[in-house]
């Protein structure tokens, strides 16, 4: 059985031994990176600087909320606005693997700049087992390049430390809980490192981000409300994806022609396999009505994804 207390004790000892001087951590405010930050903070205290990058692909109000939450946890947080840099690099890019690699590299460049300023020789990230398993290598096929593993550039200016590398999400949650994180952090649903960029099929333009960001917010709000009202249990992960095709609709007797948004929700333990969530039709309908009304100029249709993993993956790219 996984023993979280023993894990914490050993990880903190190992981090104390390994990290000399200052370290920088790439933090998103999700379960993995926040748990990793608290572990490293226990080991090296004030020598840890947390860097929260606004890639332009974060969810609604996420940067502001996470900065507050992380500061409240006693971490020293630096927010870097890199929106324009990310948008510029991803302009015209449609291939999913190329997107992930560009994002992975740009993340590292931003972290290198901070590390140089802070004179930190160590860079921490919240990599967990599925990240390196799915990124492939050796015998293992590459399913997708996770930004923090397969998406890393070849030349990197610091030493990478990954205290959660052998854990799965459910184990990280137990560690996070034992470290005293609030439930809204350790129970938070997974969110991919490349963010909304991989929830836009095709070019992840600033205009498309606005659409998918709003659609994701609606999916989250409606599902969380339905959970609160006892209509359903909370899925492991739930979000919206903007598909690269348009379909016809009718708005007030006038022809409409807009994009298709897919609603995705899955049940899983560790993300390595998943079954689609059997969301009640009423909840799906409320999501559909809200998305097609709130985004009437952009979205004409909402579909629900009923694919398991395998054969699908949870995210689309």
């Amino acid at each position: 059985m996984f023993d979280a207390e023993k894990f914490i004790e050993e990880a903190v000892e190992e981090l104390k031994r390994r990290i000399k001087g200052k370290a920088v951590i790439g933090i998103s405010g999700g379960v993995d990176s926040t748990t990793a930050a608290i572990l490293v903070h226990r080991a090296i205290g004030e020598n840890l600087r947390c860097v929260l990058v606004d890639t332009g692909y974060m969810r609604k109000n996420e940067i502001e909320n996470n900065e507050k939450m992380l500061t409240k946890l006693g971490l020293s947080v630096l927010v870097i606005d890199a929106k324009e840099r990310f948008y510029k690099k991803l302009k015209g890019v449609v291939d999913p693997e190329q997107k992930r690699k560009i994002i992975g590299e740009l993340f590292i460049r931003v972290f290198e700049e901070v590390a140089a300023k802070e004179k930190a020789k160590f860079f921490v990230q919240g990599t967990i087992a599925p990240d390196w398993i799915e990124s492939g290598g050796g015998l293992r096929d590459r399913i997708k390049s996770h930004h923090n593993v397969g998406g890393l550039p070849e030349k990197i200016e610091f030493e990478i430390v990954e205290p959660l590398r052998d854990l799965y999400k459910d184990e990280v949650r137990v560690v996070g809980c034992k470290l005293g994180l609030p439930p809204e952090v350790y129970e938070r649903q997974p969110f991919p490192g490349p963010g909304l960029a991989v929830r836009i099929i095709g070019e992840a333009s600033p205009e498309s981000v606005k659409i998918v960001r709003e659609a994701c917010a609606i999916v989250e709000e409606e599902i969380e409300r339905a959970v609160k009202d006892g209509e359903m249990s909370r899925p492991w992960q739930y979000f919206a994806v903007l598909l690269p095709c348009k379909t016809v609709g009718v708005h007030g007797d006038v022809r409409a022609y807009g994009a298709v948004v897919a609603v995705r929700a899955v049940e899983s333990l560790d993300g390595m396999s998943a079954a689609y969530s059997k969301i009640p039709y009423d909840v799906l309908e409320r999501i559909s009505v809200r998305i097609t009304n709130a985004l009437k100029d952009e979205v004409s249709r909402v579909v629900f994804d009923v694919t398991n993993k395998p054969p699908g993956t949870i995210e689309y790219e």
Partner: protein
């Protein structure tokens, strides 16, 4: 034996290699993942699980390293999963190749003979699959289970403690998966 049973996971590059390791750890085994190129003489385990992986059985079996050595010379029980099962049956005179109907995700398993692996489990339950190839014919093995689109889902060797499953009991969505690994470990323990 009173010490924990040592079951090593031979890595054939599967997405779920690490999951096998995790399930074995959760049921109290001493376990680690070893490369499939580890010489058999260096393995001090009581039993082995050959993981699944991307190599295609008909033309990529060299990628499966020393697995056939383990089948011939390892002293304890072996459970082959997915391509591990395919290699095992081919090695002892059977045939395997591309599936007519590959299975991905959900499938219903029908147990034909509960033998050791399915002891105490229902006759039908839901399992998770992910395979492009399958076993077409076996020699020297009893077929223990099937699914609608795959006739050979689980086998046991007539004489040796060799077992194989086409589906993935290590995947959390597979029903009774942990019990299948427990049954395999019990075979090892009772030897």
């Amino acid at each position: 034996m009173s010490r924990p049973v040592k079951v090593y996971v031979v890595d054939n590059g599967g997405q779920w290699t690490h999951r096998i390791w995790r399930v074995l750890r959760e049921i109290g085994c001493e376990t680690k993942i070893i490369p499939n190129t580890t010489p058999v003489g260096e393995i001090d385990a009581d039993a082995l699980v050959l993981s699944g992986g991307a190599p295609r059985i008909a033309w990529e079996s060299p990628k499966l390293g020393c697995c056939t050595d383990y089948l011939d010379h390892f002293h304890g029980p072996i459970l082959g999963v997915c391509v591990g099962l395919q290699l095992m049956t081919v090695h002892f005179g059977g045939q395997a190749g591309p599936s007519e109907v590959p299975e991905y995700g959900l499938s219903k398993l029908k147990v034909i003979d509960e033998d050791d692996l399915f002891k105490g489990l229902p006759k039908e339950f839901l399992v998770w699959e992910s395979h492009n190839d399958e076993v077409k014919a076996t020699a020297n093995f009893t077929v223990l289970a099937m699914s609608e689109n795959c006739r050979i889902q689980a086998v046991k060797h007539f004489e040796k403690p060799l077992y194989g499953v086409q589906f993935h009991p290590e995947v959390n969505n597979t029903e009774h998966g942990e019990e299948i690994y427990r049954n395999f470990v019990n075979v090892t323990r009772s030897r």
